[in-house]
């Protein structure tokens, strides 16, 4: 019962945080510098790890599917399998997981520290809503950067699969054939669905991380606990939401 109360309280505070942040949307143009800074932290600094991870995810996907599909004589369809998998599922989910691990943890740690060391209270004392300068720029930044990160991840994953198909001996599928089947079975609607999913996941990760960080009570130990809680909650929400969003977008 205690845990249920905690979960409901966390959910309620997150919704309130979202509503309070939306109430501050009018101040966003005046916070362009903060928005740019958050875009840099969320997007630019995350780009390398997204590219590396997506490249190897696409490569491993091509390797596994090539190993299995070669037995059926259908290896020319690896392109379609990798293309659709990266576009509709793995690209958005893996980028969101990376975002939770790298950005969500940083956000929750930063906000938890500010909360623990009463910087947030100082803002409130100065009649500055913390949602305005701490949450809204991050939410706006993730909305801007998440589609870009996801699209780059998808494309890098496609090329990773193409390289594996070309240079792995038992697959030996030309890039032309790989991309021909990829283009045949992958539509821009699939890319659009993937970007929508990524947008939802990124928004939820940042919102949950902000909420957990701002609701931290105690000292430095609780800061670490908040980070762990933010990452775990984000991962769970990503996978739970993935099912429902996928079903809604089919």
């Amino acid at each position: 019962m205690k845990h249920l109360n905690a979960i409901l309280a966390g959910f309620g505070s997150t919704v309130l945080l979202l509503l309070n942040s939306l109430r501050q949307v009018g101040s966003l143009p005046r916070q362009f510098a903060r928005l740019a800074e958050q875009c840099y932290l969320i997007g630019y600094t995350t780009l390398p790890i997204v590219a590396i991870l997506s490249f190897f995810i696409g490569g491993v996907l091509a390797l596994q599917s090539g190993y299995s599909m070669s037995n059926f004589g259908t290896k020319e369809f690896i392109g379609s399998l990798v293309g659709l998998s990266m576009t509709r599922e793995l690209g958005p989910v893996m980028v969101a997981v990376l975002l939770a691990g790298r950005v969500g943890s940083a956000i929750s740690a930063e906000l938890a520290s500010m909360k623990v060391y009463q910087e947030v209270d100082a803002l409130v004392t100065m009649n500055i809503p913390p949602e305005r300068i701490l949450v809204l720029p991050r939410l706006a930044a993730v909305l801007v950067m998440m589609p870009i990160l996801t699209l780059i991840g998808i494309l890098v994953g496609w090329f990773g699969g193409a390289l594996v198909c070309q240079y792995v001996g038992f697959i030996s599928l030309s890039p032309e054939k790989y991309f021909e089947t990829l283009r045949r079975y992958t539509d821009f609607h699939d890319v659009w669905s993937g970007l929508v999913k990524a947008e939802i996941f990124g928004f939820v990760v940042v919102l949950v991380s902000c909420s957990i960080g701002l609701n931290t009570r105690g000292g430095p130990r609780e800061i670490g606990a908040s980070v762990t809680k933010a990452v775990v909650t984000s991962l769970i929400l990503i996978l739970v939401l993935d099912y429902f969003v996928t079903k809604a977008l089919l």
Binding site: A33, A36, C39, Y40, Y44, L151, L155, T186, F188, D190
Partner: protein
């Protein structure tokens, strides 16, 4: 690193993202991009199968366009094909819906047509034909299976006894049982014959086992073949001769096929008959000469007189020759 640099990098990343979105849209939506540049033609079918917007249009296997849209049009369905403007399709080219494989997608395949045919213009309709899809083939296989099953059932029925009538196997068994002794005798005879042949006995055995007999037979056959060739040449010559005669050429041909000559011959034969009849009757000079020996006797006497006169002329000289001749004659 100041915030200006951060902002610049964010802006660069944002522009890169927009560019990637555009590139991805163009790459995956090239079907729609092509549809804006080419010219449309209409292809009518009875069934579009699983053809959908964006599927390829290929001429002899080369992609030349895409399916722009599909629509119902009365009692048929139409596919509007957007063709690359660089490609001209002859008016006698034909389109059909085919599949790139068992798991492949459908596409519209267009034949090359003839090079001298007029090209199809925008909005014109291309001739089409229906091709059998996998479902049709499977249905035909099902029909074939039913027919095969019926045939096997009939064969199976022939092997079963029905209405008290013995089956085919029973009849065969009965036949073998009734004629077992005869079959044994036939088999024994066959065995004896083959043994003799194997031992080289008899004409067939020698022919099989003795190479000399075989050589002789081969030589005989060769001679017969030569004789046949000669006979063939003779017959050919005879045929040519008959043909020559039939054309009325040569003496025999003229005699047989020239009506005037035939009439002349008949007249001549009639004259001969008359002459011979007169001769036999002793009419005329020649008849009398043949039948009456008086002339011969007279002639002989005259010759004797002439002989004597000549003798006398020799003795009395030329002066008296005329008188001697006249004396002898008169």
């Amino acid at each position: 690193m100041n915030s200006v640099q951060h902002t610049a990098r964010v802006g660069l990343l944002f522009l890169l993202g927009l560019a990637l979105i555009w590139v991805t849209y163009e790459a995956l939506g090239s079907k729609s991009a092509l549809s804006k540049t080419g010219y449309p033609i209409v292809a009518g079918f009875q069934n579009l199968k699983a053809l959908k917007q964006g599927d390829d249009v290929r001429m002899a296997g080369v992609r030349i366009g895409a399916v722009e849209t599909t629509q119902l049009a009365g009692h048929r369905v139409e596919a509007i094909l957007r063709i690359d403007k660089k490609v001209t399709i002859p008016s006698d080219a034909r389109a059909t819906i085919t599949s790139s494989g068992l798991l492949g997608t459908n596409y519209v395949a267009i034949t090359l047509g003839t090079p001298h045919a007029a090209p199809l213009g925008p909005e014109s309709e291309i001739r089409t034909y229906e091709s059998a899809d996998l479902g049709t083939v499977m249905a035909q296989l099902g029909d074939l299976g039913e027919k095969l099953e019926d045939t096997l059932g009939a064969v199976s029925g022939a092997f079963r006894s029905q209405d008290g009538q013995p089956s085919l196997f029973e009849r065969l068994n009965q036949l073998l049982s009734d004629n077992g002794n005869k079959i044994d005798a036939v088999m024994s005879n066959l065995e004896s014959i083959t043994n003799k042949v194997n031992r080289g006995e008899g004409t067939l055995g020698k022919l099989v086992n003795d190479p000399a007999v075989y050589d002789q037979l081969l030589a005989t056959i060769t001679e017969i073949k030569d004789a046949a060739n000669e006979a063939r040449g003779f017959v050919t010559g005879a045929q040519e001769l008959v043909a020559h005669v039939k054309t009325g050429q040569g003496t025999l041909g003229t005699l047989l096929y020239d009506e005037k000559a035939t009439a002349d011959l008949k007249a001549m034969m009639a004259n001969f008959a008359q002459v011979s009849e007169k001769l036999s009757k002793g009419e005329g000079t020649l008849g009398k000469l043949i039948n009456d020996d008086t002339l011969y006797t007279d002639a002989q006497a005259t010759l004797q007189k002439a002989d004597r006169a000549l003798g006398a002329m020799g003795d009395s000289g030329p002066i008296t020759a005329v008188g001697a001749v006249a004396n002898a004659l008169f």
